[in-house]
């Protein structure tokens, strides 16, 4: 039987950053494992996955990305374990292995947390000097900067600047035309694109916004169709049959 601390207020559930009950999905998993008194290294994945889903449902965590990602991971492992495998297959690798490693590592962190909590509590039994001298009377703290530190910082800054080199920096407006041209060029070569093909892996907010507006505009013009199978599913961009000839 799974007992769960009192649920969070529903209005908080939308964007969960930090819960009172659990500090993250691994914490929740560890809680379930401890309750069931099962061995982490021989995780009863089907049972734990069901319990995990039940708890995130009960706590209204259905929109918390970190918890959802873990739920998906559990279900995938559960499915993999259900696949038939040949007897005596040495190549077979337990799909639970990675999760077990992370859980053991996390458990170690929790133990450190216990230790640190005790150390902090012990330190809190002693008080330092409470009275601090008047700030006005106190001389300012001496500041130390070495010239070579400043140069090292300048070099780090230089390394940060991507090619091509920087000329004059102005706040960049949305570049919808550029994004439109890019999408059209991509579609000229291919029937179908993924969202990632359009924005790339290192897109800035401006890039994403530009590409998104360009997509909507092109879709409105009938040059392409944007399709998404479900919420948060991958976005597929398909070229529309040559209507431009009409």
């Amino acid at each position: 039987m799974t007992t769960v601390p009192p649920p969070v207020a529903p209005e908080r559930a939308g964007f969960v950053v930090e819960l009172d009950q659990f500090s993250g999905p691994l914490d929740l998993l560890l809680h379930l494992i401890r309750e069931d008194e099962v061995d982490i290294t021989d995780l009863p994945i089907a049972k734990i996955a069901d319990q995990f889903l039940a708890v995130i449902d009960e706590l209204g965590l259905n929109q918390a990305a970190d918890y959802l990602e873990m739920a998906a991971r559990l279900l995938r492992i559960k499915a993999q374990l259900l696949l038939p495998r040949r007897a005596g297959d040495d190549e077979w690798e337990d799909p639970r292995a990675e999760l077990v490693r992370r859980l053991l590592e996390y458990q170690q962190i929790r133990e450190l947390v216990d230790w640190m909590q005790q150390a902090a509590a012990r330190r809190a039994e002693q008080f330092g000097r409470g009275f601090a001298p008047e700030p006005a009377a106190a001389p300012p703290a001496p500041l130390v900067i070495e010239l070579n530190e400043l140069l090292a910082a300048a070099e780090r800054v230089i390394a940060l600047i991507p090619e091509p080199m920087l000329h004059r920096v102005v706040p960049r407006p949305l570049d919808v035309e550029g994004a439109t041209a890019k999408i059209e060029a991509l579609l000229a070569g291919r029937e179908q694109l993924a969202w990632r093909d359009v924005v790339g892996a290192r897109a800035t907010v401006v890039d994403v916004l530009s590409a998104f507006i360009a997509l909507l505009e092109l879709a409105k013009r009938g040059a392409l169709k944007v399709h998404q199978d479900g919420a948060f599913g991958p976005i597929v961009i398909r070229r529309e049959p040559a209507r431009e000839a009409a």
Binding site: A132, A141, A154, V169
Partner: protein
């Protein structure tokens, strides 16, 4: 010292302000005011006669430990009240950009560092290393920052020209426009 005197000593040490006799009495509900005053004298005597660097002083209708006057100068000189500070890597980076590109606006610094630099710039202003020198053209007439004389002082430079001219700097941190004759 008696247990009550030791308790008073600990409390007077830890308090962030002078403590009145009433407040000291609240430390031990069993002890009456007379007992507390006697213990207070005990603490004061201990520090007065034992050859200590601090003393218990009656001040602002209360009691407080203070370091003896003769040590005040040495302590002031050592500047303990605040920890000597080094700048964080983020602050140094921002300072480097402002030093080489001044006058420069916040957006430009953000763009070069790839992160929001507002808080870092504010800290540098607070520390007197950087200041608003003018306003730029364009939207909202942004504040433009430059380094202060104190920046030179901390680095031990006489002039900004003494900042090393790295070859790469001429590319990446080149001032946006040719310098105007002043």
């Amino acid at each position: 010292m008696s247990p009550l005197a030791k308790l008073l000593e600990a409390a007077l040490f830890a308090a962030s302000r002078p403590l009145t006799v009433d407040e000291l009495c609240s430390l031990d509900p069993q002890a009456g005011e007379g007992t507390v005053r006697a213990a207070l004298s005990e603490v004061r005597e201990t520090y007065a006669t034992g050859g200590h660097g601090v003393e218990l002083v009656e001040i602002a209708q209360g009691w407080q430990f203070l370091s003896r006057r003769e040590y005040a100068e040495a302590i002031d000189r050592a500047q303990f009240t605040l920890r000597p500070r080094r700048l964080s890597p983020a602050a140094l980076e921002t300072l480097a950009i402002i030093a080489y590109r001044q006058p420069v606006g916040r957006l430009e610094v953000d763009e070069i560092r790839g992160v929001d630099s507002g808080a870092v710039i504010d800290k540098l202003v607070e520390r007197g290393l950087v200041e608003v020198v003018t306003r730029g053209e364009g939207l909202g007439r942004p504040l433009l920052y430059g380094t202060t004389p104190q920046f030179l002082e901390v680095l031990g430079l006489r002039e900004l020209d003494e900042l090393p001219r790295l070859e790469e700097l001429s590319v990446a941190l080149r001032p946006p426009a040719p310098a105007e004759p002043e």
